[in-house]
């Protein structure tokens, strides 16, 4: 690690002070405000803090927080890791993560999709993992094709940076197209509504099971180097490594495979890395189980149609489910996307709708032919359910509201 120039040292000290003060005043973990202070004093602080370190960037619409957590757990096999574990995934958060763990050589940064080009320029990554791209908060964010083009442009300008990319996502495949060193992971893609047509030429993609190709221009699903078979990951050299995850769902097995591939790029063998993923039991409250009034309540965060589809795959059979929907600024003000989700997987369960926009959910569930009830909040939902297991699927601020309520009581 290189020594910091005086201004950067001062910026780092002020960053840590601001973050600490913000944390003490109860405004979150202080990552964002700390990074803001640091970058105001020294605009090149992120670059200076990343210099001489081994940085992995992890980006995509869904799964980046969990994959970052898995990857950090794997890399900790060789020592401390700097990581933005609270999901502060913009440059302010990255700067804080790097400033807080100055002694850590290895760094794993979760990157908001829109900021990937900037992080590539400033953090000189050793490897980048690209998970997936799908529609998300279109009233304030870029559409999928625009984001993919932005990635492709940045990745084409740095073709020597090794990538770990999801072969099942045509947009990711196209974005990674000009890179010389791509390790492909069969990362899965339950959601296919954003990839009807070829990212490269606009003609229809043909799909046969998991395989896809464009017969017009030839863009084809790359042969994956890492694949998943049940609870086992098949590595590029053909060996099989068992997963014993505490996090549910096929999508988390795919996230784990990506983490093992990143660890491999850091010369940590999958056999060493895989057992370390078992220690990840919740990620910033996601998948956490809260016990209350005789109920075991599991919290799942899902922010967009692709995420809700994956969440349905995680539900315990027959378990009642609470759906929570808000539409505040960070959620996007537009709830239209709930019509892109087919709710039939919750058919036959007891279903309760809560959240600021529970009336939107009610109309949606009615149209879907699902029996449901609507109550005011998570407290009322729990009271309305019998003792036992409860699953909660919530979008971003709805999830935060529920966590805050549980923290208040527990």
């Amino acid at each position: 690690m290189t020594n910091l120039p005086p201004r950067a040292r001062f910026a780092t000290a002020m960053l840590r002070t601001a973050a600490t003060l913000s944390r003490m005043s109860g405004r979150g973990d202080g990552s964002v405000i700390g990074g803001k202070v640091g970058l105001t004093i020294e605009p090149r602080l992120l670059t200076l803090l990343a210099a001489g370190r081994q940085v992995a960037l992890i980006s995509g619409t869904n799964g980046k927080t969990t994959t970052t957590r898995f990857t950090a757990a794997a890399l900790e096999a060789t020592g401390p890791v700097a990581t933005n574990s609270f999901g502060a995934n913009m440059p302010t958060g990255h700067t804080t993560a790097l400033a807080k763990a100055r002694g850590a050589v290895n760094c794993v940064l979760e990157v908001d999709e829109h900021y990937l080009p900037r992080l590539m320029a400033e953090a000189t990554p050793r490897v980048i993992a690209l998970l997936n791209l799908s529609r998300d908060q279109l009233d304030r964010a870029m559409e999928v094709s625009g984001l993919a083009a932005k990635w492709r442009e940045a990745l084409s300008a740095a073709p020597d940076v090794p990538l770990i990319a999801n072969a099942d996502d045509p947009w990711v495949t196209w974005a990674a197209g000009a890179s010389k060193h791509v390790t492909w992971v069969a990362g899965g893609q339950r959601w296919q509504e954003d990839s009807w047509v070829c990212p490269q030429c606009g003609k229809h993609l043909e799909r046969y099971g998991e395989f896809w190709r464009c017969s017009a221009c030839g863009l084809t699903r790359p042969t994956p180097d890492w694949t998943i078979d049940g609870d086992t990951v098949l590595t590029p050299d053909g060996s099989r490594v068992g997963l014993d995850l505490r996090l549910p769902g096929q999508v988390n097995r795919a996230n784990a495979a990506v983490a093992l591939a990143v660890a491999d790029a850091f010369d940590i063998a999958p056999e060493i890395a895989a057992p370390r993923l078992t220690q990840v039991k919740s990620v910033a409250g996601r998948y956490a189980v809260v016990r209350r009034d005789g109920r075991r309540i599991r919290l799942l965060l899902s922010k967009n149609p692709a995420g809700w589809l994956e969440a349905f795959d995680m539900l315990e059979p027959r378990c009642p489910v609470v759906l929570a929907l808000n539409a505040r600024e960070v959620d996007g003000y537009d709830t239209s996307w709930i019509y892109d989700v087919d709710y039939s997987p919750v058919q036959g369960r007891q279903v309760i709708a809560i959240g600021d926009r529970r009336m939107d959910l009610a109309v949606r569930l009615q149209v879907n032919g699902i029996d449901f009830t609507v109550v005011d909040d998570i407290d009322a939902a729990i009271r309305a359910l019998p003792p036992g297991d409860v699953e909660v699927i919530a979008n971003y601020t709805a999830f935060q509201d529920i966590r805050a309520e549980f923290d208040r009581v527990n």
Binding site: L138, E193, W337, Y339, D360, Q366, G369
Partner: protein
Amino acid sequence: MSTSMLRLVWIYPDLLSTYGDRGNLLILAHRAESRRILTESIMVRSDRPIPREADIYLIGGGEDGPQSLAANKMIADGAVAEAASLGKVIFAVCAGYQILGESFVASGERCGGLGLLDMRSDRGETRAVGELSGKVDPRLNLPELTGFENHGGRTHLGPESSPLASVEHGIGNDGAGEGAWRDKIVGTYLHGPALARNPALADLLLAWSIGRQPSELPVLDDAWAGKLRGERLAALPST
């Protein structure tokens, strides 16, 4: 009805389905089935012919590239224009709405539309994003229109088509009028599942498609939609 089943056609979901556009198809099918009207929903990819024997045609929203491509394909296909001349029901939102007009602007170029509504669209100086509400043309006998708009276009109506509503909140066509209609063709800037918050509009389309008055349709329990409408309209800042 032209067939024993009410046939709903969603045109080009591969090109025009940005954000919940499927909702309009689901809502029409649900409201018809709830009245024991059997439905058949057909999603037509842009490399397939659009069925000529259908009752309601739906067109969704999309980005500039897919919008101009979809317009060209619909013009070449001819089925939508034929449906309009036969008095079939057409309901289009956002980019699909613009396609119903004489012309629109996509990727900086003026593109020809289907010419089914007397109107032309161009680019506004700002993007219109947010809640939209307005009083519906009294001849349609519908309650207040409510929904979410997210578009960069502005639309100018000629004498042969009428605004669907007069804007009370939001932008719509130009800050004054919102959407357009003539005969059984309706377009709106309310994007995505526009009918979710406007069940009476959904029923008007259904009634048109089976040659009845909306008042002749069996009444459905719209308590949830009513609550949603009330909540969204009450949440608007007072103007």
